[in-house]
């Protein structure tokens, strides 16, 4: 049946690499982190109101030992994961609807851009009135931060999808929902990723605001109450913990991206 002869594959031993000896990325990242801690140390020595790394480390050890940090991390991580997950999960279909059906966009976009400009702090009274003081309003505030970043990115991604790919899917019989799942989402995954990365940052950055709402524990709450007592070491422990958790989640996203967008023909 085959009229064109199948090509046969030939495999060769790997050719001797000619790459210049390059410093591996992780080493650079380590150097960068060490340098950053150095700058911090330097600043703390200038007499400015910045606690030294050692002081912060000691405080962190204290907080770990009495279990506070662990409990705070769990409480905050849970809120961020749920809020962020819901935000991204909703942003992708809404962004698609906005990009696909112009009237939906005309109806929704002004509100999204409007709510983007509202500081999370200002939303809190409304959130409490509508959702009480349990977990819901806290997660909602985080959700909103993730959602609003991600939906704009998804929208732009959908608008940017190459028309010929959509056409190719349509002539193969694909309906709108399949085009969403199998063409638009993969094609706009670089945009969705940008939205997720920015949204992830926003989620964590909003945590302090979210935990103003009657939180009993959580990293944001801990920082907030430490601020009232000018307890800089605790604030720094909070900042660093949030930073490290955010960084780790970001790496997970990047890893996922590398797997999902390896098809791209980029540099």
């Amino acid at each position: 049946m085959t009229l064109v002869r199948a090509d046969t594959r030939v495999t060769a031993p790997r050719a001797p690499g000619k790459r210049r000896p390059v410093v591996p990325k992780t080493v650079l990242t380590l150097i960068s982190i060490v340098a950053g801690v150095g700058v911090w140390w330097g600043l703390s020595l200038t007499g400015l109101d910045i606690p030294a790394p050692v002081v912060v480390l000691n405080r962190a050890i204290e907080l770990i030992e009495d279990g506070t940090l662990g409990a705070d991390i769990l409480a905050s991580l849970r809120r961020v994961l749920i809020g962020f997950g819901l935000g991204v999960g909703l942003a992708v279909p809404i962004g698609f609807l906005m990009g696909w059906y112009a009237p939906v966009r005309a109806l929704i976009e002004p509100w999204i851009q409007f709510f983007r400009t509202i500081p999370p702090l200002a939303l809190i009274p409304l959130a409490i009135v509508l959702m009480g003081i349990e977990e819901t309003p806290k997660i909602f505030v985080i959700f909103l931060a993730a959602f609003l970043s991600c939906v704009i990115a998804t929208l732009q991604g959908v608008l940017t999808v190459d028309r010929t790919l959509i056409n190719a899917a349509r002539v193969l019989g694909a309906r709108d929902h399949t085009i969403l799942a199998r063409v638009v989402i993969p094609a706009s995954s670089p945009f969705i990723l940008v939205g997720m990365r920015i949204g992830l940052g926003s989620s964590w950055a909003t945590l302090v605001a979210a935990e103003l709402i009657a939180a009993q524990q959580g990293l944001g709450y801990r920082m907030q109450s430490a601020q009232l007592y000018y307890d800089l070491p605790t604030i720094f422990v909070g900042l660093l913990t949030i930073g490290v958790l955010g960084l780790l989640m970001d790496r997970v996203l990047l890893l996922a991206e590398r797997r999902l967008t390896s098809w791209q023909e980029t540099r």
Partner: protein, 293 residues
Amino acid sequence: AGEKSSEKVTFGYIADYNGTSLLAVAQDQKLWAKQGLEVSTKVFTNGPLQVTAMNAGDLDYGYIGPGAVWLPASGKAKIVALNSLGNADRVIARAGITDLSQLKGKKVGVPEGTSGDMILTLALQKAGLKNSDIQRVPMDAATIVSAFGAGQIDAAGIWYPLLNNIKAKKPDLVELAKDADFADTMAFPTAFIGSNAAAGDAARTGKVLAVLHEAMAYRAAHPDETAQLVAALNKQPVDAVKADAANSKMLDGSTDDATAKKWLSGLGEYFVTAGKLPSNPDPATYYVGTAAK
């Protein structure tokens, strides 16, 4: 000394009647120029930020409420003068709760580190309750207004004028405790503070004190005009400012050192029991009001 060229002073404040009134008077009556000072005022929303700015060298003097007195007490700044005694704080509860002891197990909103926190702590002590006997729900002051109004919390430590907003929604709320209930053991002074550096400059601090005292005298003599001045400066309605003014007892500058130190030491006591200060320092170490006089 510097008669010819005026000395520069930066002064922080909070835009309520307590925080603004003396500065508004001083500006209107040109009291600064009289002392050969040239002032630049900076508005803040809380005390700790002013202390941060002081320690960064950007601010010479500032204003704090009673809840922030632990800052100077722990050596971050010096108190240069007492301004007023707060009488605005209340412990409130929803209708049906008639006594402090009934707060047990209830959800109580508290803006941590403020005078609302203080009045609640004192009230609980008086009723023989521990912090763990109630469900303490930390939230900021504006949030308490919403949460109480929406019935999300049963009680709260809060103050006027915010309390007026709550009353508009829940006219049947009950006031379980007020500042005056603790008048014999505790006062709630607001204060002017100076950075450690600025307070060290006795000559200039003396001039600043002179301005403040003269303004206090004017304020005591002309309450209505003062309210007008504050309303104009902060762009707020005069009625709101007047209502705010009614919640505090304005000092007129005649408070003697012993009384001031008694109030401060009482506050220090509270901060120690609340765990915010390791020990209660002698007010003389951070109160320089008369020393500069």
